[in-house]
Every structure is written in structure tokens, then in C-alpha cells.
């Protein structure tokens, strides 16, 4: 079976690397993007190839295009039914709310442990 593909959108190389380490360990295929614009570009590439992505994990505070705008933009594409998990920090209660209103499926608070990440993902894809 084709491994499920996850797009991670984060400006921090450390965060991307940690996510990749954990997700690949769990058997997922990972695509990285550095910010919202880059994320939309990666999705566009997939669309052209006729490929899909099962889940998107996106940071909120990023240069060029932040996570909230990114979520809103994704909802305008054919990827609108793809679950999006936003990464927030402990006190980003308002950001979390904004993300949900924009259409995010769930959120994950940084820092997180690998099992928290996998537990959250399991709520949307299997």
C-alpha cells in the first residue's frame, strides 16, 4: 500500500526535521514547505501530478504567509477536505480559535512528544 502523504508547513528547520523524523518513523511520507506560500506551491505541484495529500500540518507564525491565511487559502482549493492540523504555542488561545474558524481540523501545542503528534494525526487519518 502507498504510504500516506503528509505536508508539513513550518519556517523552522528544527520543527520540520523533528516532524519528519517522527512521521517517517511512523511510516508516513513527508513533504516540507517553509511557509504558507511555499505550502500552496507544493499543493499546486501535487495537483498537477494528480497526486494527493492525506493531511497537512502547519505552523501559524511564519514569514511571507502565516498559517491562518494558508488554511483559508487551502479551503479555496480542491484540497479543501484535507484535514489541517495547526501548530500553536501554549498561550495562543486566540490563534487557535482563528485557525479553527479558518477551517483547521485540529491543533497541536508545541512542544509536543512524538506520541502526542501521532495520537492527534490518528484522529484524522488511519
Amino acid at each position: 500500500m502507498q504510504p500516506k502523504r503528509i505536508l508539513i508547513v513550518d519556517d523552522s528547520p528544527t520543527l520540520r526535521a523533528s516532524l519528519r523524523l517522527c512521521l517517517e518513523g511512523a511510516g508516513y511520507e513527508v513533504i516540507e514547505a517553509e511557509n504558507g506560500i511555499d505550502g500552496l506551491r507544493k499543493l499546486n505541484n501535487l495537483k498537477r501530478e494528480g497526486s494527493r495529500v492525506s493531511l497537512i500540518i502547519s505552523d501559524i507564525i511564519m514569514p511571507k504567509m502565516d498559517g491562518i491565511t494558508f488554511v483559508k487559502e487551502v479551503k479555496k482549493t480542491p484540497f479543501c477536505y484535507t484535514p489541517i492540523i495547526i501548530l500553536t504555542t501554549e498561550r495562543d488561545e486566540t490563534k487557535r480559535q482563528e485557525g479553527r474558524e479558518a477551517g483547521a481540523a485540529g491543533w497541536l501545542v508545541k512542544p509536543f512528544k512524538p506520541q502526542q503528534l501521532l495520537w492527534t494525526i490518528k484522529k484524522f487519518i488511519r
Partner: protein, 692 residues
């Protein structure tokens, strides 16, 4: 990607972020009005905070968080840009670099006092709320010791798929928490096929989940869905027993079918219209006169009314709570009684008289409350009667059942424990006791046999007798078998009672060919075990050719026992009094250790195994020389080393299950007169623990 590579990635990123902050600080210093540098620094500090936290560098993360706060305030114009602040922030960057150098050389990030010093310097630039920093809530609920039942109803918004959420995933996740024992899907909102929008959800679910997980775990399943959807989680453990919801007992079948989604409300209405009442049908068929039916209907109405007025149904759990409270009151009274010794003689006398009155009321209250837990034997006896009838029919035997004392009441719990043993005894009586009619005729007995089921109460104990007029027990055969099995010596002389006692021995009771000779069945050892466990005894009387009687003696209740309080190895234990044969003061030569059997105590020529509670319960070392031995009799006789006997008391056993678990050999705990807690020994459990 390996972990070491991840670390390299982090250091590279951190260095870049710190360089950015440093450069932008310098840029800000030369142009304090510029907003771009502040934005950039804020983002960098934020990134460093997250990245270091992911790597587990908590000091770095905490300190970056403070920096992020300062940049945030600068960004919002809440702080002025000063030379002072910029120097401090540059120092902060150096401090973060120092921490990273420490990490790369294998040292801790920094000392606790170093970071608090730096934090103190930044403090006056921080807003008040930020002081506390990120706090984590840790709330760990213990796993429940037994299954709980939750009824979960889920009604999602029809556009849930737009969010990327999928109810199926939630159902799968719930299934992982335990067992979904019932699911009902409500498809009433599902439109005609032509009108279905495949991106919409029309179905809602109601399910019962059996799980040991706490409520919070179940709530976690819906963490992303609960706010915007209609999710209801109800703990129904208290009303859910043996696979049924007690609330369903009073519902009509139509209601239940409707709830299960099998039929619709319209279906019910249409059927109800067609239904005719029994009375009406009888009148229509001309079987009874209409006026008769009306009279009886009137009577029924009155009977129901009176019944409703005179009875209430109470949950057993509520009764048990009252029992517990009454018992606590009794203990409190006892404690009050203990202080009378400090009183003036004149006051003391009056006080004691009043206290005595209170004791009496308390005792009566206890009795009345215990009665609420009591059920008559009636139901049990009628079930046995039915069983006898069916068995007799199968085996072509004629058996009459005579029931008496069916209104004798005993504790519901006790009834449950003895129900299987009783079935077993009745079966034996039919299978092996009562002869076939032809055989009985040949023996000069009536063709039909009789089995008597009798219940009565005597001196606070309940007795149940099962008597038959069948073959009786062949003592010789039992004894022969026991000798063959090496249970008794060939030259020993046993009383009748001792021979009958042998029938409960596992090696005898399971021996099939004894059965055919003696006319007694298998599994009596199990019967005895269950009855002993319920704090009861079983005795057998028999006469060859005339029949057999089993007499079962039981306590009224399991919750309250007469206990003897002892001290062993400095710990106070309560032993149910009915298990105690005697207390024995051994001399040193009475105690012997025999390799295969361990320690034995010689009680007037009888060698009994000796248990030390400290060894069984692992309590530490005890005194080498036992001064006192309690001789107990569960399934067998054995001795327990005790330090001293402290007294006797009626005690209410409280289960430990709610707090811990019931360890083997311990029936529960009880509160003594002085308010201290004592463990109550489960004698049969202790036996199993000590002798396997």
C-alpha cells in the same frame, strides 16, 4: 534522518536565529523608529522558543519566551527603545549562545541561578501576566479498577467534512479505548437518494462504550469536535449491569425498538391503533361478560394505586450507602463510650444510660436497613423446583417437591453466591439420590420420590436444607475410596460425620465410580468451597436406603461479620469469628518444621500447617517463637501465629476495591472502635495464598 542530524539542524537554525536577532538589534539601535527589525526579532525568538522546546532544552525555551515577550511589547509600542534595553537584549543573545556552547560540550544548558539572574534583569520589561510563563496542567486520573459504561451520543454538523474531520475516525478511536457494545445509527435525516449531497453528513450515532479508561480519555477523543458539534457523554455505569441498562426495564418494547432505530415513531402509532386490549377481545368472543371485565379493571386500578402507594423501589447502592453510614455511627458511638471513664461519676451514670438507649436505636436501625437488602428464598426455591421437574422428566423419574420456609429472607449477595451450589446439590439428588420408580417399587418404597427444600432462620444464621428420600450414601464405599486414595489410613476409625466430610474432598467428590456405588455426584468440593467463601458451612446427613440431607448454614449478610480482632507482627487484623476453631498456646516442642510441609503445629496430636501472616503478606520479620496460635478452619484446619487477641466486635467490611484492589487473602478493611483501621482476613483466600 537520524537524531544526531536533527540536533545539527537545530544548532544551525539556532545560530542563524541568534545572528538575526543580534543584527536586527544593531539595526534597531541605529534606527529606533524602524518596525521591520522588531517584527523579525519577534519571529526569530518565537521560532527559537518552539525549536528548543521540541529539542527539550527547557531553559533556552523559557528564556527565548521572555525575549519573545519583550519583542512583542516593543512591537505593540508598549516599551520604548532605549540603549539600555538594547544592551540587555544583546547580553541575552550572548547568554543563549553560552547555553548552546554548554550543550554542545555535553554540559547542562546553564545553572538555575544563572537563568534566574538573567530573567530578573529582563523582568522589568515584561508585562505582569507573562511572569508565570507557560504552565502545564497535569491531571492524571487513575485507571478505573473495573469497567465503566458510557453512553455517547454524537450529532455532528452536516458540513463536518469541510473541516477535514471524519466521524469514522472517532468511532475507531473509541473502539480502541474499550469495547463498543451497542451502536445505534440514526438515519432519519438521510434524504432521498437523488437529494444526497455526498459531502454532507446526515447520520448521527448513539453508542455504549465499555471501558476502563477515565472520562477524560473519552473526552479527549472529541477534543477537536466537541465545541462545534453536539456530543454528549454520559457515565451510565451505575445503571448499567450485566449488559443491560436498568432504565430499560420499565420501557415498553415499542420504545426500545424505537431507540434502537429498528422502527420509527409512525410505525408505533400505526400499530397501537390496531391493538386491542385482552379484556375487549374476551368480551367480543363472548367468553366473559362486559360487566365482569369492567369490575376487574376497576379492581386492577385500585390494586395498582395501593401498590404504588405502599412500595418504592430503591437502588441497591443507595441502601448500601445507608448501611455504611449506620455502621459508622455505631463506631462513633463506641468511641463516645470510651470517654465516659474520664467523667464525673454522677454525670457518667446518666450519660451511660442515654448512650445505651442510643446503642439500641442504632442497632435496630442497622437491622432494619439490613432487611432492605434481604430477599426471600422464594424465587430461588421455585427455580430449583422447576429444575427438578425438568430433570425428573428427562430421567423418567417421579419426583414431588415440597417447599417450606420460602419466605425466609437473606442477603441478595448471599443468594447469588449459593445459587449455583444449590443447583448442583439438587441435580445430585435427582441424578443419584432418587431411584427409578421400578427400583423404588422393588425396595418397597413409593414409586415417586420426594425432595424437600426448606429454609429457616435460627440465631442470626440462615439454614437451607435439601433432603431426598433416595438411596442415601454408602459410607463403606466412600471410606474405601478414601483409603485407596491415601486420604485416610486403612486402620483409622472414623465417625459417621467424618466419613460424610470426606465426600467434600476433591479426590473423592470428583471420583466418578464412587458416584455409581455411593449414589453421590461430582463436584461437592466446589459446592463446599463456594459456601465457605460466603462464610457458611455445609453438613451432610444420610442413611442408606432412606435418603440424604444437606444442611447449609449461612450468614444473614456478607457485609457485617462477627470479628475477632488480633494482633500479628504488630499489625491489627480482624478474623471472621465463624472460621475460628480455638486459640492454642503452643509450647516450643509443639512447633516443628518438616521439609516438605513447612511449619506444623501439634494441637493435641493433630498436626496442622502453621501460617505466619508476615510471610504470607510480606510484612517483615516476626518473632521466632509463636506464643499463641489461632486455629482456623476454612476448607481445612490450619494455624495462624498471632501475638495477642484484642477483642471481639461486629464489623462492617468495606471493600478496598474502590481505593486499591482487594489483595488475595484480604476480604476488606474495617474501622475499629478506636477509629483505627484493620484489615479483615479472607480465610479461604488466605488458605489458597498459603497452600496454593
Amino acid at each position: 534522518m537520524k537524531k544526531s542530524e536533527l540536533l545539527d539542524t537545530y544548532f544551525a537554525e539556532a545560530e542563524e536565529l541568534l545572528n538575526t536577532i543580534e543584527n536586527q538589534l544593531l539595526a534597531l539601535e541605529s534606527n529606533p523608529e524602524a518596525s521591520e527589525p522588531i517584527q523579525e526579532m519577534f519571529r526569530s525568538a518565537h521560532s527559537l522558543k518552539s525549536a528548543s522546546a521540541m529539542m527539550g532544552f527547557m531553559y533556552t525555551s523559557k528564556f527565548s519566551h521572555s525575549l519573545e515577550e519583550v519583542f512583542d511589547r516593543l512591537r505593540k509600542g508598549e516599551l520604548p527603545v532605549t540603549k539600555n534595553l538594547i544592551s540587555l537584549l544583546l547580553n541575552s543573545v550572548d547568554f543563549l549562545r553560552m547555553m548552546h556552547t554548554n550543550i554542545t560540550s555535553g554540559k547542562p544548558e546553564c545553572k538555575a541561578e544563572e537563568i534566574s539572574q538573567m530573567q530578573a534583569k529582563l523582568k522589568r520589561f515584561l508585562s505582569e501576566v507573562s511572569e508565570e510563563g507557560p504552565t502545564k496542567k497535569f491531571f492524571i486520573e487513575p485507571e478505573r479498577p473495573s469497567d465503566s459504561f458510557f453512553e455517547i451520543s454524537m450529532e455532528f454538523r452536516d458540513d463536518i467534512f469541510n473541516k477535514g474531520q471524519d466521524p469514522l475516525m472517532l468511532l475507531l478511536e473509541l473502539d480502541e479505548l474499550g469495547e463498543i457494545i451497542k451502536v445505534v445509527s440514526d438515519i432519519s435525516r438521510l434524504p432521498d437518494f437523488d437529494n444526497i449531497d455526498m459531502y454532507k453528513l446526515y447520520i448521527s450515532w448513539r453508542l455504549v462504550l465499555k471501558t476502563r479508561e477515565p472520562l477524560s480519555k473519552i473526552e479527549d477523543v472529541f477534543i477537536f469536535t466537541r465545541d462545534e458539534n453536539d456530543i454528549e457523554i454520559k457515565d451510565i455505569t451505575r445503571q448499567f449491569r450485566d449488559g443491560v441498562n436498568l432504565k430499560d426495564a420499565d420501557k415498553f418494547i415499542g420504545e426500545l425498538l424505537l431507540e434502537q432505530g429498528i422502527i420509527s415513531e409512525e410505525d408505533i402509532q400505526s400499530v397501537i391503533k390496531e391493538q386491542k386490549k385482552t379484556g375487549k377481545v374476551l368480551v367480543e368472543k363472548g367468553i366473559v361478560d362486559k360487566s365482569e371485565v369492567e369490575k376487574i379493571a376497576e379492581y386492577q386500578k385500585k390494586a395498582r394505586l395501593v401498590h404504588r402507594r405502599s412500595t418504592i423501589r430503591i437502588d441497591l447502592e443507595k441502601v448500601d450507602k445507608v448501611v455504611g453510614l449506620v455502621e459508622e455511627m455505631a463506631i462513633a458511638l463506641m468511641q463516645i463510650g470510651e470517654i465516659t471513664s474520664e467523667m464525673e461519676p454522677s454525670v457518667k451514670r446518666r450519660f451511660e444510660i442515654m448512650l445505651k438507649g442510643l446503642y439500641k436505636i442504632c442497632h435496630q436501625l442497622e437491622e432494619q436497613v439490613m432487611k432492605m437488602r434481604m430477599f426471600p428464598l422464594e424465587g430461588t426455591f421455585y427455580r430449583l423446583q422447576r429444575q427438578i421437574r425438568d430433570l425428573a422428566y428427562e430421567q423418567k423419574k417421579q419426583i414431588r417437591v415440597v417447599i417450606s420456609g420460602e419466605d425466609t429472607e437473606l442477603d441478595k449477595e448471599v443468594i447469588e453466591i449459593i445459587s449455583d451450589p444449590l443447583k448442583h446439590l439438587v441435580r445430585n439428588a435427582v441424578d443419584h439420590g432418587i431411584e427409578l420408580p421400578s427400583e423404588r417399587e422393588r425396595l418397597g418404597k413409593p414409586r415417586g420420590g420426594t425432595i424437600w427444600l426448606k429454609g429457616y432462620q435460627r440465631e442470626g444464621r440462615i439454614y437451607i436444607e435439601i433432603k431426598d428420600d433416595g438411596r442415601g450414601i454408602d459410607k463403606e464405599a466412600v471410606l474405601k475410596k478414601a483409603i485407596e486414595q491415601g486420604i485416610v489410613k486403612s486402620d483409622s476409625t472414623l465417625s459417621d460425620e467424618e466419613v460424610y466430610e470426606l465426600m467434600f474432598h476433591p479426590l473423592i467428590s470428583t471420583a466418578k465410580h464412587v458416584t455409581s456405588v455411593s449414589g453421590r455426584g461430582v463436584g461437592l468440593d466446589v459446592v463446599k468451597h463456594n459456601i465457605t467463601k460466603a462464610g457458611g458451612r455445609i453438613k451432610v446427613l444420610s442413611e442408606v436406603g432412606r435418603g440424604t440431607t444437606f444442611v447449609i448454614e449461612l450468614p444473614l449478610t456478607l457485609a457485617i461479620i462477627e470479628g475477632t480482632i488480633i494482633r500479628a507482627n504488630g499489625e491489627v487484623f480482624t478474623i471472621p469469628m465463624n472460621f475460628i476453631v480455638e486459640f492454642f498456646k503452643p509450647l516450643p516442642h509443639h512447633i516443628r518444621t518438616i521439609e516438605e510441609h513447612g511449619e506444623l503445629v501439634n494441637v493435641r496430636g493433630e498436626f496442622l500447617p502453621l501460617i505466619r501472616l508476615n510471610k504470607v503478606f510480606m510484612l517483615g520479620n516476626g518473632s521466632p517463637e509463636p506464643k499463641l496460635v489461632a486455629i482456623l478452619k476454612g476448607n481445612k484446619k490450619f494455624g495462624v501465629v498471632v501475638d495477642e487477641v484484642l477483642g471481639e466486635q461486629r464489623v462492617l467490611i468495606k471493600s478496598l476495591k474502590e481505593n486499591l484492589f482487594n489483595p488475595k487473602g484480604i476480604a476488606g478493611a474495617t474501622v475499629l472502635g478506636d477509629g483505627s483501621v484493620s484489615l479483615v482476613i479472607d480465610v479461604t483466600g488466605l488458605e489458597e495464598l498459603a497452600f496454593g
